[in-house]
């Protein structure tokens, strides 16, 4: 094996590597044989070893120089603020088309039908409010719930809701009353207005539901016009309302540019009554829809604890399916 010493210039990087204990064995051998014959590089090596020792001292002595406590405290408060504003969302391909679901630290804060062109880009993030971060992993469990719901395998979405994006106290009350509507039950805008103690505010109720930040979860599809027409959903996507009602066993008939509930084909609960009736009971069909909650099937009515009316006996004379 050749022992020819390399030039001092060439050996210098190896020298530093040896001094800082990073040299691979081959480099260490090269240095060893070189310094055996070169006094100046020997001294150079010693100097680098001294430097390495001082660098270690530098690492250790300055370690506690600056106190991070204040920076940490400021960071914690900024993080707390950020956490309260952040919305993590994912966009999922649902049977109803792409749907965005967003969640804050308080609960689900966004459900939105997304137009395909909007899947990427800032518009969605902006509407999510606060600090939006795309995070499908955080929301995919919620989407599984939703997919089960749309498939009829689940009748409740027991999600904690974040209603901070509501525009007013009035809208909040409308959304909360709507959220209490049971699965498979339908009422009218007037019915919700009465429910929240503002019986003359039917139009305002409709307006509040038009800007529902949490469609499906806050089931505004269960609220229809007093005529029985579905009257609007997600802009002009009335078909979605029809589909969501169909999932819950509430069937609708196509009409002129809209769908409507067939008033003779549903069961009725009058105001806060404890019974459900046939449409033929006590002149129901002459009364405004706003006085009732209607159900597509006996099962759905009984699922919320209603008894069959003892006059019209829907249990003995059920509507044809």
């Amino acid at each position: 094996m050749t022992r020819e010493p390399r030039s001092c210039r060439e050996i210098e990087p190896d020298l530093i590597a040896v001094a800082t204990a990073e040299a691979p064995p081959a480099a260490a051998r090269r240095v060893e044989s070189h310094v055996a014959e070169c006094a100046s590089c020997r001294s150079e090596l010693t100097q680098y070893q001294t430097v390495d020792g001082l660098v270690t001292a530098y690492r250790d002595t300055r370690a506690s120089e600056a106190d991070p406590t204040l920076a940490r405290a400021q960071l914690e408060s900024r993080l707390a603020d950020l956490r309260s504003r952040i919305v993590r969302y994912g966009v999922f391909d649902s049977p109803l088309g792409p749907i965005a679901i967003g969640v804050s630290e308080h609960g689900v804060s966004m459900v939105e039908y997304v137009r395909p062109a909007e899947r990427t880009g800032g518009g969605l993030a902006r509407r999510a409010g606060g600090e939006a971060v795309e995070d499908p992993r955080r929301t995919e469990g919620l989407y599984r719930d939703l997919a089960d719901y749309l498939d009829g395998r689940r009748t409740r979405l027991d999600w904690p809701l974040d209603l901070r994006r509501t525009r007013s106290d009035f809208q909040r009350r409308v959304l909360e009353a709507t959220a209490r509507l049971p699965y498979g039950a339908v009422t009218s805008y007037a019915g919700i207005a009465r429910e929240i103690g503002a019986p003359r505010a039917t139009r305002a109720v409709a307006q509040a539901l038009r800007h529902n930040p949490l469609p499906i979860v806050v089931p505004c599809h269960r609220v229809i016009g007093s005529s029985g027409d579905l009257t609007g959903y997600a802009g002009t996507r009335i078909g979605l309302k029809r589909d969501l009602l169909a999932v819950e066993g509430v069937h609708t008939m196509p009409g002129r540019g809209d769908y409507h509930i067939e008033r003779r084909a549903v069961y009725y609960k009058y105001l806060d009554g404890a019974e459900y009736c046939l449409p033929t009971c006590g002149g129901i069909l002459e009364k405004p829809l706003g006085d009732f909650t209607v159900f597509g099937s006996r099962d759905r009515a009984e699922a919320v604890g209603l008894q069959p009316c003892t006059d019209c006996r829907p249990d003995l004379h059920p509507l044809p399916v």
Partner: protein, 175 residues
């Protein structure tokens, strides 16, 4: 990674990231700001971090990138050199208290490191203070491990020369 897990990330790494930033900026106030920014960015991005990632190395990469942006501002560079100068002045006053030789050498190294070109300073600090492998340093600095190593060695050369020269120069100026 859930938000609770991020609290653990802060608790585990904040102090070290802060130390790193104090060393490379030489200004505790800037280190406070940059360490906050590092973790705010990390918070926004941590959910996208693949499971099993090296969180510490990832945080150092964020902090290093912030330093590089920060240093693009000429005024900051000037302020940092001034800070380095103040430390050097302080060093001279302390001179003569024999037991503090190591501490003085550390101060001197700090001054020399502060005057290094940014990439050398970052590479040196990542390697010698925070003991990262050259692969990780290369990833933080967008260069090869060999280049990262060359930065560190260049820093060591300058420290060696710096520890020799200014000591002599100072002695002369004092006499």
């Amino acid at each position: 990674m859930a938000d609770e897990a991020f609290e653990i990330v802060v608790a585990t790494h904040h102090a070290e990231i802060h130390r790193y930033l104090v060393r490379v900026t030489r200004r505790p106030g800037d280190a406070d700001d940059l360490s906050q920014e590092t973790f705010i960015r990390a918070f926004r991005a941590h959910s996208a971090l693949p499971a099993g990632s090296n969180v510490r190395a990832w945080l150092f990469t964020i902090a290093t990138n912030l330093c590089r942006n920060y240093w693009r501002s000429e005024s900051r560079r000037r302020r940092a050199y001034e800070a380095a100068g103040e430390t050097a002045a302080h060093h001279e006053e302390a001179e003569g208290e024999g037991a503090m030789v190591m501490e003085q050498a550390s101060e001197e190294i700090g001054r020399i490191v502060a005057a290094l070109p940014l990439r050398q300073r970052l590479a040196f600090t990542l390697r010698k203070v925070h003991e990262f492998e050259y692969e990780a340093i290369g990833r933080s600095l967008d260069c090869s491990p060999d280049t990262a190593r060359a930065h560190v060695f260049q820093a060591l050369r300058k420290i060696r020369r710096g520890l020799d020269a200014p000591a002599g120069a100072r002695t002369e100026s004092k006499r």
